[in-house]
């Protein structure tokens, strides 16, 4: 019996203690007619067989050269990260409800909160949300609660924000009659301009969301946008790539007074691509709205003897205390992945993160130069980008990407799926993991696809 330690003698002795004859007797309060029949599922197999099956399936999807980004990035993850994270004491602990027996996890979260607050230049961070997309939904809900000046249940959401984020957030907030209002972008720059926003001036919105860099890799004029939103009574929600924050102005310093809430996908900080999860969403905010924050928060305190220690705090926001009046229903979050990010950030430091960001940026630029040297291939937008780029091809991007895939190059994503106006457009990136040979291999593969 996999994972069950009981011997026949154990069972007999235990049943005797309980005073029943069989294990089935313990189920005698359950109406007989709902007891399950046999299942049509495979018989149990051994670890050895399963490892082989899993190895074969994992191998089937490997040996590819990946230039897809679109919110999830292939970065080098130091070996130390997952070696330490996989220690049983991190891996198999529960949420730190008994603080004295969970100081390890609690201190890690406190350090994580510090990292995220300092990276974003915000006042406080929570202990993680599920992921970037659902995090944006939580941020929108939080902004609506927090914006005391606004009665609106509407939030302005530029179309330069990831369509996957917008979709996710919409699906989560819509049941509360909250509307995410699309804002168009400048077709030359691929960014959101004041021009695009003008029509909403004077209207009541709870918040404006600003992504930096945006989904196209394009850099928004975040200072201008932030000030515009604040001037119009809106809170500002920043959606940022944490690696980029080593280089780019952090949300806390956008415009005159900084963003009010900053969220994003934590994956770039030491989390493997892993088909999309587990990642983690981060959310930071200004101190004054911390009580509107969803999710767990850890505080530093002292014990009976005055010794420093850490504990869950501000729990009155959470579902297990506040129930239907909670700031969110989130309970289990992404603790382990957040732990990985904490170790990753410690290993890299601010300087290391800068180097990673620079290397990604350079590789992407480099690849862009290589690809646009091919006949008919050009960049789609004329604004500065960070570490990701949109190219327009002379032919259907869908079929080009398919053909590249046959050469085991995952060349990016076909933007026309999400933006009908961006026909033949491909969104790609080249992270620090790519060598010059990798870039040239992409160029050559694309050249031969275009030639064929």
């Amino acid at each position: 019996m996999p994972y069950i330690p009981h011997t026949d003698e154990d069972v007999k002795a235990m049943l005797d203690t309980i005073g029943v004859n069989s294990i089935d007797d313990l189920f005698d309060e359950i109406p007989k007619d709902i007891l399950a029949k046999n299942f049509d599922i495979p018989e149990g197999i051994s670890e050895m067989e399963m490892m082989r099956l899993m190895s074969e399936r994992a191998a089937a999807d490997s040996n590819v050269s990946c230039f897809i980004g679109a919110g999830a990035y292939e970065h080098h993850i130091p070996a130390a990260v997952w070696d330490v994270v996989s220690r049983g004491e991190f891996l198999t602990a529960y949420t730190p409800y008994q603080a004295e027996a969970s100081q390890g996890t609690l201190q890690v979260i406190y350090e994580y909160q510090t990292n995220m607050a300092n990276l974003t230049a915000m006042d406080v961070s929570n202990a993680s949300l599920y992921d970037g997309g659902s995090g944006m939904a939580e941020a929108a809900l939080m902004a609506i609660r927090a914006n005391k000046k606004s009665k609106s249940r509407k939030v302005l959401v530029p179309r330069t924000i990831s369509p996957l984020y917008r979709d996710t957030a919409h699906n989560i907030v819509t049941n509360q009659n909250i509307e995410l209002v699309d804002v168009n972008f400048d077709s030359e720059g691929g960014n959101t301009t004041l021009e695009n926003l003008k029509q909403y001036e004077g209207e009541d919105f709870a918040a404006l969301i600003i992504a930096q860099p945006n989904f196209f890799g394009v850099l928004e004029d975040v200072n201008e946008l932030t000030d515009w939103a604040h001037a119009n009574g809106m809170l500002v929600i920043a959606v940022v790539n944490p690696i980029s924050l080593a280089l780019l102005t952090p949300p806390g310093e956008w415009g005159e007074s900084g963003a009010d809430i900053a969220i994003g996908e934590g994956q770039p900080l030491g989390v493997p691509l892993s088909s999309g999860g587990p990642y983690f969403g981060f959310i930071c905010c200004k101190q004054k709205i911390v009580r509107q924050m969803p999710g767990r928060i850890i505080g530093r305190t002292v014990d009976m003897e005055g010794k420093e220690g850490f504990t869950l705090t501000l729990q009155a926001r959470e579902q297990h205390i506040r129930r239907s009046k909670a700031t969110s229903n989130i309970c289990t979050n992404q603790g382990l992945v957040m732990t990985a990010s904490t170790i990753y950030v410690a290993l890299l430091g601010a300087d290391g993160l800068s180097l990673v960001a620079e290397a990604c940026h350079e590789n992407t630029n480099q690849l862009s130069v290589l690809l646009t040297s091919l006949e008919g291939v050009e960049t789609a937008f004329n604004r500065p980008v960070f570490h990701e780029q949109v190219l327009r091809l002379p032919v259907s991007s869908e079929s080009v990407l398919e053909k590249l895939a046959e050469a085991r190059i995952q060349g990016g994503i076909d933007l026309s799926t999400y933006y009908p106006e961006l026909e033949n457009c491909v969104l790609f990136c080249a992270t620090e993991t790519k060598t010059n040979d990798d870039l040239v291999a992409y160029q050559q593969a694309l050249a031969s696809v275009l030639a064929s």
Binding site: M50, D303, N329
Partner: protein
């Protein structure tokens, strides 16, 4: 000591720095005004310092790998190392979420198989794996209930009924889905108060959310009557699968009359809790809610006699409530659950319920024999049970929290305390099936010891814990004088 306190300006884990290419243009193409001015205040430490710091931090945790951890409602069972290893295979870790389907068949096959297994063991008609935890599974479920009523243009249904023993996520979820919550009381045997339920249901009832067994640790005997009551009123039944471990393989939620449910794979399917997550909360639905399932879902087709897997999305499920995560959810957790499901297999599933129930009933009996007061003495334990320490609190001044803290000194993690809220001074104890009777005995012996200590020296017990890395912490100070991050100024 915090990692920042070990930091030294200029120190680095240099072998982790990527070599930048030769061009050396750096970021000159980014406008000055968009660049960061001051370096972020992060630790500057060596690789060894990092490894040592976090290794030592890990040692300040209780965990399943080191201790018995009978935290009620949390199903702290053994997390197979093989599951971890197989989900950490480079081929799985390296797959981009938007990789083409043609280069994703290995991963998709696992997901498809998992969907099928979960459908079968829950008696549901469809499963979507995408919710990233139990609470998000609840959200998906209630959102589907809403989509169902909306599709029928039945817009009057504005209430979700929830028994008072329910977990906080249930009412919080209902509200996130735009519903009002109406609480249904629980009677002294731990059952839902049927009369109260019958009074509460009506045309405003969108549905009822409940677990069975409930968080009272007992099986809701009138489940079929509850189901028909709600169904007759036009509502749907949501099953909170957090307690699925109690009935896995023995009773299918579908057969109890539930229309929709979530599973906490990080509980019932043994994926590690990770100190707070990640989990996975797939939803299963009956016939009526099939059209509304959240995307993406994995479909299988036969192409030239070969199985080909592909993502199903809005195009395939036009009435879907849509995606709830950026990509497809917590894939790595799902792979671990798949591993676990395959190892248990057909003949292993029901043993989960059987042996977790055996362990709980054995412990309950031993506690009772040792003089501890059961919350529901006439009832069978399910996979968990409740004792109340009210008399200890009243007579000795030692409450449930004191008992819990003292237990840590004996090397056992404390059970869940003060939940469910309706039982005073309660401990919700869930041993799970993977613990041997020796551990259960050791735990009960410790309780007996603490009882004795409480009688002889209550003050000592109230001062616990003594053997942990810190003594009892000041939660009030933590909440009053918020200290939520380290900052350089504060320290220097």
């Amino acid at each position: 000591m915090l990692i920042y306190e070990k930091s030294q300006a200029g120190r680095r884990s240099i072998s982790q720095a990527p070599i930048t290419s030769t061009t050396n243009t750096k970021v000159s193409d980014i406008p000055e005004g968009l660049l960061r001015k001051k370096k972020a205040a992060l630790a500057e430490v060596s690789e060894m310092q990092v490894v040592r710091h976090y290794t030592n931090l890990s040692r300040r945790n209780f965990s399943i790998d080191t201790q018995f951890y009978p935290l009620g409602s949390c199903t702290m069972k053994y997390n197979p190392r093989g599951a971890h290893k197989s989900a950490m295979l480079p081929g799985f870790l390296g797959r981009h979420p938007l990789a083409p389907e043609s280069q994703s068949q290995g991963f998709l096959a696992c997901m498809y198989d998992l969907q099928e297994i979960l459908k079968e063991v829950t008696g549901m008609k469809g499963v979507s794996l995408t919710p990233m935890a139990g609470a998000q599974g609840e959200f998906a479920g209630v959102a589907m209930i809403r989509a169902y009523h909306d599709a029928r243009e039945d817009f009057e249904r504005t209430e979700i009924l929830i028994p008072s023993a329910a977990h906080g996520t249930n009412p919080a979820t209902a509200v996130m889905c735009g519903y009002k919550v109406r609480e249904i009381p629980v009677d002294k045997n731990g059952d839902v108060d049927l009369a109260a339920l019958k009074e509460a249901v009506g045309p405003e009832t969108a549905g009822l959310m409940m677990t069975n067994p409930s968080t009272c640790g007992v099986f809701e005997r009138s489940i079929k009557e509850i189901a028909s009551t709600v169904h007759e009123a036009g509502g749907l039944l949501y099953y909170d699968g957090a307690n699925l471990n109690a009935i896995l393989g023995k009773v299918c939620p579908g057969d109890m009359g539930f229309d929709v449910m979530h599973m906490n794979l990080h509980k019932t399917f043994a994926t590690p809790h990770g100190g707070g997550g990640p989990g996975a909360g797939p939803v299963g639905v009956g016939e009526r809610l099939l059209p509304y399932m959240p995307t993406p879902i994995v479909g299988k087709e036969s192409v030239d006699g070969k199985d080909v897997y592909r993502w199903l999305d809005e195009k395939d499920i036009p009435q879907t409530i849509g995606r709830l995560s950026t990509y497809m959810g917590n894939a790595g957790v799902l792979l671990r659950a798949y591993y676990y499901a395959r190892l248990l297999g057909r003949e292993g599933m029901h043993r989960v319920a059987e042996y977790s129930t055996l362990n709980a009933n054995y412990m309950m009996k031993r506690c009772e024999n040792a003089g501890f007061e059961l919350a529901y003495p006439g009832r069978r334990a399910t996979h968990e049970f409740i004792i109340t320490l009210s008399s200890q609190a009243k007579n000795l001044g030692v409450n449930a929290m004191d008992f819990a803290k003292r237990l840590l000194d004996y090397g056992y993690h404390a059970p869940t305390t003060y939940f469910p809220l309706l039982v005073p001074e309660c401990w919700l104890i869930e041993p799970t099936e993977t613990e041997s009777p020796d551990e259960l005995d050791g735990f009960v012996e410790a309780m007996i010891q603490i009882q004795k200590e409480s009688e002889e020296n209550a003050e000592m017990v109230k001062g616990a814990p003594y053997n942990q890395t810190v003594r009892r912490l000041d939660d009030v100070k933590a909440a009053r004088e918020l200290d939520l991050k380290w900052s350089p100024a504060q320290e220097s």
